[in-house]
Symmetry: D2
Subunit: 311 residues, 4 copies
Amino acid sequence: MSVPLPTGGVIPPLVTPRTSDGALDLAALEDVVEHLVAGGVSGLFVLGSSGEVAFLSDADREVILRETVRVSAGRVPVLAGVNDMSTARVIEQIRLAERAGVDALVATAPFYVLPSDREIEEHFRLLAASTPLPIYAYDVPVRVHRKLSPELLVRLGLDGVIAGVKDSSGDDVSFRRLVAQNRAAGKPLVLFTGHEVVVDGALLAGADGVVPGLGNVDPRRYVDLVAAARADDWATARRLQEELNELFEIVFQAQGVGGEAAGLGAFKTALVELGIIGSNRMSAPVPSLSGDAADRIREIVARSAVPVAAR
Amino acid sequence: MSVPLPTGGVIPPLVTPRTSDGALDLAALEDVVEHLVAGGVSGLFVLGSSGEVAFLSDADREVILRETVRVSAGRVPVLAGVNDMSTARVIEQIRLAERAGVDALVATAPFYVLPSDREIEEHFRLLAASTPLPIYAYDVPVRVHRKLSPELLVRLGLDGVIAGVKDSSGDDVSFRRLVAQNRAAGKPLVLFTGHEVVVDGALLAGADGVVPGLGNVDPRRYVDLVAAARADDWATARRLQEELNELFEIVFQAQGVGGEAAGLGAFKTALVELGIIGSNRMSAPVPSLSGDAADRIREIVARSAVPVAAR
Amino acid sequence: MSVPLPTGGVIPPLVTPRTSDGALDLAALEDVVEHLVAGGVSGLFVLGSSGEVAFLSDADREVILRETVRVSAGRVPVLAGVNDMSTARVIEQIRLAERAGVDALVATAPFYVLPSDREIEEHFRLLAASTPLPIYAYDVPVRVHRKLSPELLVRLGLDGVIAGVKDSSGDDVSFRRLVAQNRAAGKPLVLFTGHEVVVDGALLAGADGVVPGLGNVDPRRYVDLVAAARADDWATARRLQEELNELFEIVFQAQGVGGEAAGLGAFKTALVELGIIGSNRMSAPVPSLSGDAADRIREIVARSAVPVAAR
Amino acid sequence: MSVPLPTGGVIPPLVTPRTSDGALDLAALEDVVEHLVAGGVSGLFVLGSSGEVAFLSDADREVILRETVRVSAGRVPVLAGVNDMSTARVIEQIRLAERAGVDALVATAPFYVLPSDREIEEHFRLLAASTPLPIYAYDVPVRVHRKLSPELLVRLGLDGVIAGVKDSSGDDVSFRRLVAQNRAAGKPLVLFTGHEVVVDGALLAGADGVVPGLGNVDPRRYVDLVAAARADDWATARRLQEELNELFEIVFQAQGVGGEAAGLGAFKTALVELGIIGSNRMSAPVPSLSGDAADRIREIVARSAVPVAAR
């Protein structure tokens, strides 16, 4: 029996903890889940980019999904990333996620390939036809190198192909048009921004929620931020956003490394500092942060006074 | 027992034939292999971009590899694309290719992810450490959105990590530098160009061979082109290249479709016209060519008088 | 004697009206200025991208600047775009603008050339050393193909090289960091967003003002939007933004034309419909809008009930 | 009376020498011209990207053109870059070049602006209508961020709008198609490659000539290379190309600087080493090369044994 889908709120994209020798750390994953549920999140997005989905074998993916479903135990819905290169392979990932018992799926346009817009649309229609689970479209041009247009997304929403969108496009003009077109169409889509440092503005613009990588570290302030916005208390929303943005500076501390090492490495390093996980180890070939960068991250985290529920 | 690796020559990236109802067409695959072997190719590259690798499930990938190994029967080496998002997943593809009995592997840098140059280098080193099979680096920025530098490639060659390069970067300046640096290093790498319309120039520059998508259609003229170049008969090499380029116009006939539909769709349509395969059906969600575009492709193929061995 | 510089508010980038035979229409320019001043704007930005600066000869540029300075008559400050390829040529444009009597300058990084970040910084320092007028940095990667980092901009602000920034980068994450770093540095910079459809969010984030192309058409609602935001009345700010966004749909009506034809052509077509200017003629080689696209623009403008002061 | 236009051959894009205090060095410019004419070039391309055109005021541009015309004295034709942002401004540059007495013009598509393909075509038609001088289209996407298609170029050639093309697109596949389409159309265009390290291949493909930045340093070997290719002596052509490519490594010696500093700075440093000019000073804000990078450049030049005519 499926958990009701989120109509908004905070749905962090979970990091995937590893032990210091590189193995999956399921105990730490459980602690991350508890940290997030205690923080008041509306759902858990597993196997997103922040979950290092690209670095995980199918077997590891399935273990992580099963464990998250088990631990969350119906308290919040579990959304699963089903990232792969194109339709047939994504459908295999959907099968894997269905077996694990997740509540919803998150899918990108095909990548590596060179599709037309019509092929991208057909891709999503074929995914939907393959599963009873709701699908969220994940718009992330920095990785997929294609932008999903508001017109396409709303059309897919009206046809029941997708239930919502995670917008990590960094294109706030397009997101604003998506909000407007979605509203004019009767709101078929639930809209999430993936940009954790502009959530107040996105909510003012009409976003329903946020999928913040930084929400792994500090779910509570994101939950409070959304609550303030819903109460039209924009001064509080902005204040919380600014506190979160000071914390977000952790992702800019490592220099000369790749995007995962700097960003996800910072999230993991912060979670170690907070005592949630035991190691900031990354998936090969991504190096783990150490030295000065890690020191600065720890200082920023300490300064931020992140609320962590007693356990 | 493995077949000796190619030191150059023509290694077409095989298309993956489907029946008109979309199933894998292994009989047609066998006919493609025979067409290519009869054309004198030096190897078969299976599961490349031209093989629609991104659209194929693991099960289909394995079937295709096994069938190609069976049919080629040691007459020429079989190289297998092991495309996936990042290291751990590519290593799973390597296992699959090893089980199928291929002779060598072709791997790209990670995609979807955001690696540093050092992580890309470590990726290739981890791949090599995982298998006794030789690995060719596939440089294809239009799909992977990263360029592999000559310095990195030659360093990997000297360290025995890679045996060669398929350069589909479209950057002839960089390729020329790669040739020069490889020669200065004692030629650790065998260098293939992936650009079928400039093979004469690439051979003049020092390429060892070519991986031509169009070689699915007309392997013989590519083989003759390489032979002419090796005999320093550049007038003949150029004439053959120009004939091939007239044939290559097939990929520009379809308008408003994606890259696979236009290019691979044209190769398949031409192979149908030549009687090698039975259908130009593409993998979902890619549409198959029909109508005027297909008509023009057939005319171009007819005009080109492609040599096909009697069977 | 110079007019005090704006500390924020609405500074529309003026369109450059032409008569139906293509000549500069200075009478219409005067009417645009009056429309904007009556709308309550805080300044006039002449020779921006919206002013078709790239299409104007030096002689035409100077005429336009002089006329704007004459007509505005000190009621609001006049900011002049000094766009050219690199430092020496921009300094010539600065001379031209100084002669015309403008109050401030707006400059981009060099384009066409391939500078390092240090060269971009030196470029701005040389511009500042060449003139007593304040300079605003214009960050517009879609045209200049370079992004100005928050670190660079704040450093230039602290050193008195630039007085502010017009951010048309479309990167709301970077803009948010710019706001934060500028505040931490003691607010050396006045920060304007150039994205007219997300002004409420930008103001919530801490922007001081906006340079809205659409402000040519409807300055009043932008002025009211900024006032609402300053009064912390975010519900009103959002409502006005949404009204403006419905009007902004005019820029999406023309299909298959270039960026200037669609966007600036729409602004001009709307101004004709409002009776402010006489022709929507564009600078060669940009076509003027007509037919269905122009009809749809007129309908959108009519529906929007744009406030126009009696004249 | 105009000098006959080149039908191919070597047309170097002249560097713009400066004295060590940054002034234009017309005496050194004269020496560069004599070095090139003595090297056997077929024409002189002044105010190209290699001539730092983007950094030069109109007054400096005119001085340089006049001096080159005076010094070359009809021995070879002078082609002038007329680079500016869009049509009206380019036409002003054409006036300037006409006054200086040049023999032909070299123009890019508009930049900074966002034109449609039709606007780019109209741009070239308006340029041609404004002058009796022949125009060469300069295709340089790395600077202009647009690619000129073979179809457009051949159509402009057939209509007498352009006389030829300088292809610096780095897209050898497109160049090959341009050669083929130009030939099929009756050869309305003279085709030059701008990529100095692949000239042998470009000539084999059907290029008529080359516009090599490195030809400032070593015009003679480029002239010999073209002669060898015309004599179908491809072994010699390749050998000369490889010698030139070893010399071209000078542009890769400086690290962490912009494109002009590394490339043009290397050409100037080499010309100083050869005794042709007195300073490697660049236009502000581009730094001049010094230290280790300059040392390595001098060593490479010394090793290359560049032929310099006695003067």
